[in-house]
Amino acid sequence: MKILEIDKLNKSYEKFRLKDVSFDLEEGYIMGFIGANGAGKTTTLKSILNMINYESGEISIMGKNFCENEKELKQHIGYMFGDADFYTRRRICTITDVVSKFYDNWDGDEYRRLMDWFGLDDKKKVMELSEGMKVKFSLVLALSHKARLLLLDEPTSGLDPVARDELLELFQKVVEDGRTSILFSTHITSDLDKCADYITYINNGKIIDSKALEDFKNSYRLVKGPVAKLDEVSHKLVSHKTSSFNFTGLAKESEITQTDGIVLEVPELDDIMIYYARRERNNA
């Protein structure tokens, strides 16, 4: 079953626009939502939660239209926004006491178990937690009300490598039940290699691709060769960089074939992001 479906989402700001954003996520999987800073990741996540008023498009969660069933569907969503710290000067237990009353499925025993497991002390104030602990607290709240969909906006940014690795392992544990799904935005692509099943790539408000991680990487090729060969292939490239003698570019796998003097490699996620961003900059 599709836990999340987004269809032709449009939202305009003065200098930025989400253009026909469409993708979906099956239950029991982790999807990495990648894009450069300002590409539209947070705007999309906020649109999903109806925090901003989008102009057109449809968002469905668990097969139901979100706008028409917002109150009911939010019972099944957990969230974490990197830029939003709520009531940081209040004790965790006070916040939990308030939050728990909003959720019909709140499981106090599970909450205690997770708090102990993460080593979180609910007598502490939120501001006394490290960034990693804050993310964990958000996850505890989400998992304690048995959220089926976790929407996490850059949960790993600001974390040290150890905390990041722990968190990514935790994501995998969370989806093990086959019912819970995670959509998390990030620009740290190495995180995705460790845990993402699917990748959705957004660039300048437009979805470039949304597919399984390996399929996503395999649908592109990093093209390397001498500058003399550039003219032959430049029209097939998303964009390219040149040095004194050589060039490196990105092309869609379906549009490029191996020829003499040119080397084709499967790119990393970073490469794909870099060359698309470069194309935007060149076109601007």
Binding site: K46, L49, N50, M51, I52, N53, E70, K71, E72, L73, K74, Q75, Y79, F81, A84, D85, F86, Y87, T88, R89, R90, T94, I95, D97, V98, V99, K101, F102, Y103
Partner: protein, 212 residues
């Protein structure tokens, strides 16, 4: 709505503002004072401080992310502030009774009698009428909302005091027609309720366009 009100009362409003009505109510014991000020401390202190705390603590995003309807976010805020207003009036009333027992009729400004409390309700209703619709245009900016609504309340209070002071008939009514003062109180409560409800309805419409 019940859960959001619980959030307002436990998280949003600092416990100090539940004690403030008692402290401000004591000001009713100052002889011959401008007693509208007792209620206006709610406008001067509680409202800007609470709204500033909301802004600092990202209350808007917090509330929107909960499984609630947007209308209820407005409703809970209006209701929680109304509860505080009623607390100010209730404690004011307790000390107003003591005031009248101690000092009798005021010589210059209005005596805090039953009719005065009717006017106090109207003043707070007017305050609400301006505060919430302006605040819920953004749901986090509070400067203009607090300034405009406080000026509206102040102008009403100053106008009422001056009218009673200089209009002989009104002065006589406020001093001697005590049997009719209950009518002023009832009318005041009704006007307060109507103004607050209108304010709530306008705020709902404005809040629909707000983005967190």
């Amino acid at each position: 709505m019940r859960n959001l009100l619980n959030k307002e009362l436990k998280l949003t409003i600092n416990p100090f503002f539940y004690i403030l009505p008692l402290i401000m109510g004591l000001l009713m014991l100052i002889p011959g004072w401008l007693y509208f000020l007792v209620f206006m401390y709610f406008c001067f202190i509680t409202v800007p401080n609470t709204l500033a705390a909301c802004k600092a603590q990202n209350d808007l995003s917090f509330s929107i992310l909960m499984p609630v309807q947007r209308n209820d976010i407005v409703g809970a805020r209006v209701l929680s502030f109304t509860i505080l207003e009623l607390l100010h009036i209730a404690f004011g009333a307790v000390f107003a009774v003591i005031n009248i027992k101690l000092y009798g009729e005021a010589v210059f400004f209005m005596t805090p009698n039953v009719a005065f409390f009717g006017l106090g309700f109207i003043m707070l209703g007017l305050f609400n009428l301006f505060l919430f619709p302006i605040f819920f245009r953004s749901a986090y900016k509070y400067g203009v909302a607090v300034t405009v609504s406080t000026i509206a309340a102040f102008l009403f209070a100053a106008g009422a005091e001056l009218l009673v002071l200089f209009n002989r008939e009104l002065n006589v009514f406020m001093r001697y027609y005590k049997g009719d003062h209950w009518l002023v109180l009832i009318a005041g409560i009704l006007i307060f309720a109507i103004m607050t409800y209108i304010s709530y309805r306008i705020s709902i419409i404005r809040f629909r366009k707000v983005e967190a």
